[in-house]
Structure formats: structure tokens, C-alpha cells
Symmetry: C7
Subunit: 103 residues, 7 copies
């Protein structure tokens, strides 16, 4: 079996899942918003890198996702599966764990 190469471009989420690049906590304050120390340890902001086809409905149709590639989002810190590619952190989330778009 050939080796599996993980890179950002070849991760295709299934169902209602989305692939999110975790924003470093330094970046979150670049716009002048100062986060207190305790908050810096809880990065909950990221950018959507890939979106699955959507949740499968009972009748076999798909629920079109409300978010798109490139959206900056807030998500539940304890949700999803963390994945590290090189020095970057990613998280695979269910769409329902995304709380808000921060456009």
C-alpha cells in the first residue's frame, strides 16, 4: 500500500463536516481587539478550508451548508477532531458546532 500524504488540498470532508484552519491567537488581536491572557489560551476562531456535501436528510437529499470556503468562523473549542499538518493546526468540525461567522 502506498503511503497516505495529508495536505490541506486533499482533505474532502464527508456529510455535514467542515475542515477549518485554526487561527493563531496572535492573529485574532491584530484588528485592535485585545484578548485577556486567559482567553488567549482558548483559540476558537478559524477559517473554513473545505466543506462537505451537507447533512444527509431522511429522504436522501442533502442539507446545503450555511458556510463556505473562506469564511472566518467561531466554533466550540471542545468540538471536533484536531489535525496538525506541518506547523499549522486544523480541526474537522460538524457544521452544527460552528457558532457564528465573523466576516
Amino acid at each position: 500500500m502506498a503511503a497516505v500524504s495529508l495536505s490541506v488540498s486533499n482533505v474532502k470532508p464527508l456529510g455535514d463536516r467542515v475542515f477549518v484552519k485554526v487561527s493563531a491567537s496572535e492573529e485574532m488581536t491584530a484588528g485592535g481587539i485585545l484578548l485577556p491572557d486567559s482567553a488567549k489560551e482558548k483559540p476558537q476562531v478559524g477559517e473554513i478550508t473545505a466543506v462537505g456535501p451537507g447533512k444527509l436528510n431522511d429522504d436522501g437529499s442533502r442539507q446545503k451548508p450555511d458556510i463556505s470556503v473562506g469564511d472566518k468562523v467561531l466554533y466550540s473549542k471542545y468540538a471536533g477532531t484536531d489535525i496538525k499538518l506541518g506547523s499549522d493546526e486544523y480541526v474537522l468540525l460538524s457544521e452544527k458546532d460552528i457558532l457564528a461567522i465573523v466576516s
Copy 2:
């Protein structure tokens, strides 16, 4: 990737979520209502800052939220995700965790 700037005006809740500014416990007593010490440590009052499009129904329609931007609300203290922007505290809640409007 450009930095993500979090500010009150650019948080757009998804689904049935609402963005609420947490009221400081001092303010809650301004109208003459005195809260005992133990209660002061449990701020459960806030003002709605942004409202999502509403919960997605099984048929693809949306359940219109019962609350609006500007409403003062009581909410479950342990619900939602806390977010700090500068010196202000916010919370992202599901509409179902809002208990009452205090108009």
C-alpha cells in the same frame, strides 16, 4: 492568511444562535433592585446584540426567533460559549437557553 479581527459588529450567529452582551452585575441593581452578595456572582442578564436566521426545520424552513436585537434577556448561566472582546463579555447562546425577556 490575514488576521481575524473580532468585533461586536462582525459576529453573525448561525442557526438558532444569538450573540448576547453580558450585563455587569452592578447594572442589574441600578433600578433599585438589590441583589444579595451570592447572586452578584451569577450574572445571568444580558442584551441581545445579534440574532441568527433561526433554527432549521426538518422541511428546510426556518423557525423565526422570538427575540430581537436590543432585547434584555435572562439566560441560563452555564449555557453557551463565553467570548471576551476588549473589556466586555459576550456569550453565544442557543435561543432555547434564553429563559425570559426583561423588557
Copy 3:
């Protein structure tokens, strides 16, 4: 932002929630019913102060509540959210946590 003033008259429960004034344990025995010491520490009696519009059904209609303002009720001690206004205790309950009317 103006301060939020909590008072009995301006709490408007949402959905299937009701606002209940907790009866002091002394009052519960006024009719001649003597409660043993251990029971006195578990006040589960109150008077309905405000009633929400009712639980939202799946078809968008509301389930009319079975209780009304002024009803004396028994409720589950560990249910709901406690709220103190001045020296009075209140609780915000879901209607399903109200066990019986004690008329």
C-alpha cells in the same frame, strides 16, 4: 447601554417557561399542615407570577399552558433557574417541571 432593572412585573418568560415566586416554608404550614424539619429545607411550593406563550409545536403552533398566573403549584426542587429579587426568591421553570396545582 442602560442598566437592566429586574422586577417582577417586567419578566416575560419565553416558550414553555413560567416564572414562579417561591413560597417561604413557614407559609406552607399556615393551614395547619405540619412539615417535619427535614422537609422544611426543601421548599417546592410556589405561586405562578408569569406564564410564557407555551411550547412551540413542530408545526409552528403553540401548546397552550395548563397553568395560569396565580396558581399555587408544586414543582421539582432541582429544576429551573433561581432568581432573587430583593428579599424574594423566584424560579424560572419549564412547565413540564410543574408537578401539581395545589388550589
Copy 4:
């Protein structure tokens, strides 16, 4: 606010709830059935004192209860809410927690 007087006759269960007078463990053996010591500490027998209107169905109708006032019943020991009126013990149960009628 007037005091709330709790007495057997004025407890009106809501929904699928029933009001049950707990039988003293002495009484349970009166018919000649001897309960060992360990069992005596788990009274799970009672008599129905009041019955609610029944569980609300999704279509707004009520599910007529299978038990009636006066029925002697076995119930799950850890179910419901205990209430003491004078020297008598009562329990407010959901009908589903009643296991059997012992007629």
C-alpha cells in the same frame, strides 16, 4: 400573598402525574406475607390518591391513564418527588413509573 396550605384533597396532578400515598411497610405484611428486614427498608407500595388528566399526545389529545384513584400500586422506589403531609408520606409519580396494580 396568602399562605399555601398543602392537604391531600387539594393536590391536583398535572399531565401524566399521579399522587400516591406511600404505604407503611408494616401494612404490607398484614395479609400474611412476610417481608425480610432488608426489604422493609424499601417501601414501594402505595395507594393512588389523585390522577392527572393524562399525558399530552402530539396531536393535543390526552392519553387516558391506566390507573384510578384507590388503586394499590407498586412503583419504582427511586422515582418521583417525595412529599410529607403531617405524618403521612406521599409521592408524585409519572404514570410510567408505576409498575403494577396490586388489587
Copy 5:
């Protein structure tokens, strides 16, 4: 109030419940099957003594039980409510906790 007499013949299970006489572990080996010591401590065999009318369906009909009075059954050891009548042990089970008939 008259005393409640518990005896085998007057226990009438409600809903999907069945009343089962627990078989002593000695009896289980009478047919020549030897149970090792550790298993003897987990009696999970019994005989059906009474059967309820069956689980209530959503449309108000009853789901006829698959077992009958007199059936020997295997059941989940930790399910149900134990009841002791004289020197005999009984258990009130939901039909779903009965695993198999051992005819």
C-alpha cells in the same frame, strides 16, 4: 386505609411489564448443565408469572407481548425491580429486558 397484601396472584403488571419468579441457581443445573461458581452468583433465569397488556403504541393500540405466563426466560441481571414475597424472589421487568425463552 386498609393494609396492602402483596401476593403472587394479585400483582397485575402495567404496560409492557412482566412479573417474573426468579429461579434459584440450584434449579438451573438440574438438567445436567453444570454452572461454574462465578456464574452461580448471577441468576438470570426465571418463570413468567404475570404479563401486562403490552406497550402502548403511539396510536393508542397495544403491542401484544411475545411471552406468556409459564414461559421460562433469560433476562438481564441488572434490569427491573426486585420484589421479595415470603422466601421467593420476583422481579418486575420490561418485556424488552427479556433476552430469550428457554423452553
Copy 6:
């Protein structure tokens, strides 16, 4: 009451349950597959001995099981109820706890 004799041939599973003879871990490696020591302690292979009529659907019909008597199966190690008959181990499983057929 006569004694209950447990033997393989008289166990009739109810509903979606199946009766499975646990394969000894020695047997699993007979085809040349070597299991490491740690895996030997987790026998999760067995042979179907009896199959229930299938899960009851909401409309009263039965869901025909996907497995048959004689199938070798892999099942979740922590599922079901263990039963020992003589020196043989059996397990009563729900069909959903069977992971795969190893034909």
C-alpha cells in the same frame, strides 16, 4: 415449579437478539493468522447458534435479520450478556452489536 434446564438447543432469542457461541482464542489462529498476546485476551469472534424473529418495526412487522445460524461473526467485546453452559461460553447479543460476518 420444575427446574429450568439451560442447554444450547432450548435457548430461543427474542426480538433482534442472537445467541452466539464464543470461539476460543486458540481457534481464531488456526488458519495461520497469528494474533499477538494482547489481542488473545479479547475474543470477539463467535458462531451464531440461534437467531430471534427480528426487531419489531413500528408498524408491527419484523425486520428480517441479516445473519443466520452457522455464520461466524465479529462482535463488540463489551456488548451483550455472557452465559456459560458447561465449559462453553455463549453471549446473547442484539443484532446491531454484530460488526461483520467472517465467512
Copy 7:
């Protein structure tokens, strides 16, 4: 009873289950992606070896799986049942525990 021989080719998953060969953590970095030490201890990549017929719908039809034999996938590390065949590790997963295809 004949011995059960486990080999890759004779494992036939039931329902919505899939049989996945776990990729060694060395292989995952072959394409130039360097995984930090802590991540190496969490192999969550594998290749689909066999696919079940799909989840059974309520109407008796099957939900066709979204993945196929040969797909490289990311899956939840703590999901499923581990199986070791010779020196290779496999996992039996429900399709819903597969997060993404990494083609």
C-alpha cells in the same frame, strides 16, 4: 466446530460498517508533511478494505455508503473496534465515524 480463520478478505461488514486498514504513522509523512511527535501517537488515517451494504432505513431500503474500497480516510481515533491480523492493525467503523476522504 471448525476453527474461525480471520483474514482481510473474509471480513464482510454488516449495515453501515466499514473495515479499515490503519496506516502506520510513518507512512502519513511520506508526502513531505511532517507530523510533530505528539501527533504521531494518534494515527487517524486508514484505507477502506471493505464496505457494508449501508445503513438500513426505516422503510427497509439501504442508505448507499459515501465511501468505497480503496479510499484513504480520516476517522475519529476513539471510534470503532480495533482488530489485529498478523502485524497489521484494522478497525471496524461505522460510516458516520469517517470524517473525510484524503484522496
